[in-house]
């Protein structure tokens, strides 16, 4: 069980946490814990209650959805420094995908209800945290659009013979 200051500095070392005032970092990590995970270890389950919000410190996380007949499909991977479990902050607080380890690593995780409580009473903190969250979601949205564009697909000249 690492002490608070270590957690705060780990948070500060990530893209998500970089530039947060130390006061804010301390308030955030007050309810945070470290979680190590291995390959294939599930951190959140699609459709399940999303009770933790996490910042990836190392390793790689995959976001999967289940397609009957095709099994689980990994749609996107999360890079260290980015976040997962945003549903913890947005109603109805259910995970939109299954989050599991792709490469072993460590995440800084926050209890959902405590984090929500904290952001409710600390408007200033909320005002700095939410834009970062939206930036991360925005990137995922853009990435998904490019995946849809299927940019690398071959554009073949139609020639019947």
């Amino acid at each position: 069980m690492a002490d608070r200051s270590t957690l705060a500095s780990k948070l500060g070392g990530t893209w998500f946490g970089a530039g947060l005032a130390s006061r804010d970092r301390d308030r955030l990590v007050a309810s945070a814990t470290l979680r190590a995970f291995g390959v294939g270890e599930i951190l959140l389950r699609e459709g399940g209650a999303c009770e933790t919000f996490g910042v990836l410190l190392s390793g790689l996380l995959g976001m999967q959805v289940l397609v009957p007949g095709r099994g689980t499909v990994t749609l996107l991977t999360v890079e260290p420094g980015d976040v997962y479990g945003w549903s913890a902050l947005v109603p109805p607080h259910r995970s939109t995908s299954t989050v599991l380890g792709v490469e072993p690593g460590e995440a800084l995780i926050f209890d959902a209800s405590e984090l929500r409580e904290l952001l409710r009473e600390d408007d200033a903190l909320a005002a700095t945290l939410y834009p970062r969250l939206l930036q991360s979601l925005g990137r995922r949205l853009t990435a998904t659009r490019f995946q849809l564009l299927d940019l690398y697909a071959r554009e073949r000249d139609y020639v019947p013979w």
Binding site: T74, T77, L151, Y152
Partner: protein, 654 residues
């Protein structure tokens, strides 16, 4: 304003005109000049003065041309007809190369050597001389030279005629090209009441003039001549087009609503480009016998107004009429300056007269880009490539990269092709099929590696070459990756799909001098794991001092790596800590997104380099197809810095 006729001018009485023709015909020359045909003045062989349109005059207006006779004895009162002299210096059709399939199964490729006719051009107007000067720059003044054009120019004598009448669509005075004849001619005639004041403009002209019978022109005759030309200038006026700062005014109006309005009238019929004396765009068709044994590549005039002009496999960079009209007008009056240091318009007025629906560039320019204060702009860096040469390479080995992409190991007959640089390309062909551009994916000591994706018959034909079979190559062409810019700096190499192929020789070069560069990151995005190129090499690069990060759009069996797009690999990074350089290659849309992230990450536009794709047909900047704003992708690129491209990158319809 006075004409160039010096005191030493000769006077040629009109009834003695045949003496001049005889002189020009000496040594078997053919005289080509203005002759009446089908209600217009066309360029044809002039046997005697009687073939010239004596007493005829033209009435010209937008979309309107009529001739009438009975206007006295003058021979040159009709100004420009629909044909310009490019008809003779740059023929509408020309066989340029042959490709043969040999009995043995081999192949041979050869250019067609120039064989210019010996001509005398009679009646070249000032605007036409300007047009020839423009052609000289475009076709014979750059890194690459159209040998056939140069030969035809050198074989021709130019006899100019100063205009003593202006057509209603003429605006040479506005473009500063006439009506006075100043240079580019061997002889110049100015027609007065009873004959011509003749003077020379070159040593060859001096020699001809010396042998031309007739008295010295009197001061009165010379005064009459210059007076007539001055009157023409006055009649024409010089305010039809405000050329001052026109280039920048136009380029600032790429979004003008007027483009759409003129497109409603424009037929995209290409007449303006066909009659234009400086338009030089061409396409090449391959004419084969039934068995594809003998194949002749024939070049023909093409036009940026034609729908197929900017097409590449699966797309068209200029699908709309408004974009094509904008391309033409901005090229003529703006980007031409960037490319050739001169206007592409000489004010001959043909595009106005011969537009079937009477669109008048003078009006369009005034409406789109009214006069304003000029702003400077730096022209692009010249191409740093060797001149393309024809060669036959032998196929040694084929390596399947993916289901539709193969890497060919070829031994060129000409070692010069191995002297190419990372990022340069070669034109590849099989007899009977059009040639297409492929960037080298590796330079070996004896072999050239090309990674080709089957996207149509031409690529399929090359991929079908048997081991030991022959492939036609021309190159190396284009501007390479500027590796020197990366010395001592961190390097980001971002590749999408088969975009990794043109980057591989760059990576080879970086590894060869690994210690001269800072950190090297290779971010590679592919469609699926199965679509990755050079899989085993990706692994080995990772063990040789390159951080290799791979990501795929769609996960697949056995894939336990990253899923997403290349930007995901870069958008958390801070490139501002140390000076970095980025080299990016992939689909255009991928490059736009990636370069944006790189710049947000702190790499300046001058140090972000991309390699562009366009419809490349000649590979040496002479056919016009691959034009993008002020650039020819093949000659000025394909590698560009974002700074050079400016806001042209990612703009639609350019």
């Amino acid at each position: 304003m006075v004409t160039s006729a010096p005191p030493g001018a000769t006077f040629l009485p009109r009834e003695r005109f045949d003496a001049l023709l005889d002189l020009l015909r000496e040594g078997g020359r053919t005289v080509i000049g203005p002759m009446l045909r089908d209600g217009a003045v066309m360029l044809d062989e002039i046997a005697t003065a009687a073939d010239l349109p004596a007493g005829w005059r033209d009435e010209q207006a937008p979309g309107h041309y009529r001739l009438s006779d009975g206007h006295g004895p003058r021979l040159f009162d009709v100004v420009n007809g629909p044909q310009s002299w490019k008809q003779l210096t740059f023929p509408p059709r020309l066989p340029v190369a042959t490709a043969r399939r040999e009995e043995a199964g081999g192949a041979s490729f050869a250019p067609v050597p120039p064989d210019p006719p010996r001509l005398a051009f009679l009646g070249v107007r000032a605007c036409e001389l300007a047009a020839l000067r423009v052609q000289d720059r475009v076709l014979a003044g750059g890194t690459y030279v159209d040998e056939d054009y140069r030969a035809r120019r050198e074989a021709a004598i130019v006899v100019a005629v100063e205009c003593t009448r202006a057509g209603a669509t003429c605006f040479c005075a506005s473009m500063g090209t006439g009506p006075e004849v100043r240079s580019g001619h061997d002889l110049v005639l100015t027609e007065v009441d009873d004959g011509f004041v003749v003077s020379a403009g070159s040593p060859a002209g001096d020699r001809l003039l010396a042998r031309l019978p007739g008295p010295r022109a009197t001061a009165a005759q010379i005064a009459a001549a210059s007076g007539a030309v001055a009157a023409t200038r006055a009649a024409m006026g010089d305010d039809a087009v405000a050329t001052e700062g026109l280039r920048d005014r136009l380029m600032d109006k790429l979004d003008s609503p007027r483009w759409a309005e003129v497109a409603d009238r424009c037929l995209a019929c290409a007449n303006c480009t066909m009659v234009c004396p400086t338009c030089f765009c061409t396409s090449t068709n391959v004419h084969s016998d039934l068995d594809g044994t003998v194949n002749v590549a024939e070049r023909e005039w093409d036009s940026c107004f034609n729908v197929g002009f900017a097409k590449v496999a699966g797309g068209n960079f200029r699908p709309n009429r408004s974009e094509r009209y904008r391309q033409w007008l901005t090229h003529k009056f703006a980007t031409w300056y960037d490319q050739f240091g001169t206007s592409g318009c000489v004010g001959c007025g043909r595009c106005v007269t011969w537009c079937p629906v009477g669109i008048d560039v003078r009006e369009e320019l005034a409406a789109i880009a009214p006069p304003a204060i000029p702003v400077g702009r730096t022209p692009p860096r010249p191409a740093a490539a060797t001149t393309g040469r024809f060669d036959v390479a032998t196929l040694r080995e084929v390596h399947a990269e993916t289901d539709d992409t193969r890497t060919l190991r070829l031994t060129p007959g000409d070692p010069a092709l191995l002297g190419g640089l990372p990022g340069q390309f070669v034109m590849v062909e099989q007899p009977g099929f059009p040639a297409f551009p492929i960037s080298a994916s590796r330079y070996g000591s004896e072999d050239l590696f090309l990674t080709v994706r089957g996207a149509g018959p031409a690529t399929a034909a090359v991929l079908a070459t048997p081991i030991g079979g022959e492939v036609g190559l021309r190159g190396p062409l284009g501007r390479p990756w500027p590796i020197d810019r990366a010395l001592g700096r961190d390097v980001v190499v971002a590749a999408g799909g088969i975009g990794l192929a043109p980057l591989r020789p760059l990576i080879d070069a970086l590894l060869a001098d690994r210690d001269r560069f800072g950190s090297i990151l290779l971010a590679y995005g592919a469609r699926t794991p199965a679509d990755q190129l050079f899989r085993d090499e990706l692994a080995s690069w990772a063990t040789h001092g390159i951080e290799v990060v791979q990501i795929v759009d769609r996960s697949g069996p056995g894939w336990s790596g990253r899923v997403g797009v290349v930007t995901n690999l870069l958008d958390q990074r801070d490139f501002a800590r140390r000076p970095s350089v980025a080299f990016v290659c992939g689909p255009e849309r991928m490059m736009q997104a990636t370069t944006r992230v790189l710049r947000d990450g702190g790499i300046p536009a001058e140090r972000v380099f991309v390699s562009l794709e366009r419809h490349m047909e000649c590979g040496i900047g002479l056919c016009g197809h691959c034009q993008m704003g002020p650039f020819f992708i093949c000659k000025d690129g394909p590698v560009f810095s974002l700074a050079e491209l400016g806001d042209l990158f990612a703009r639609e319809g350019i």
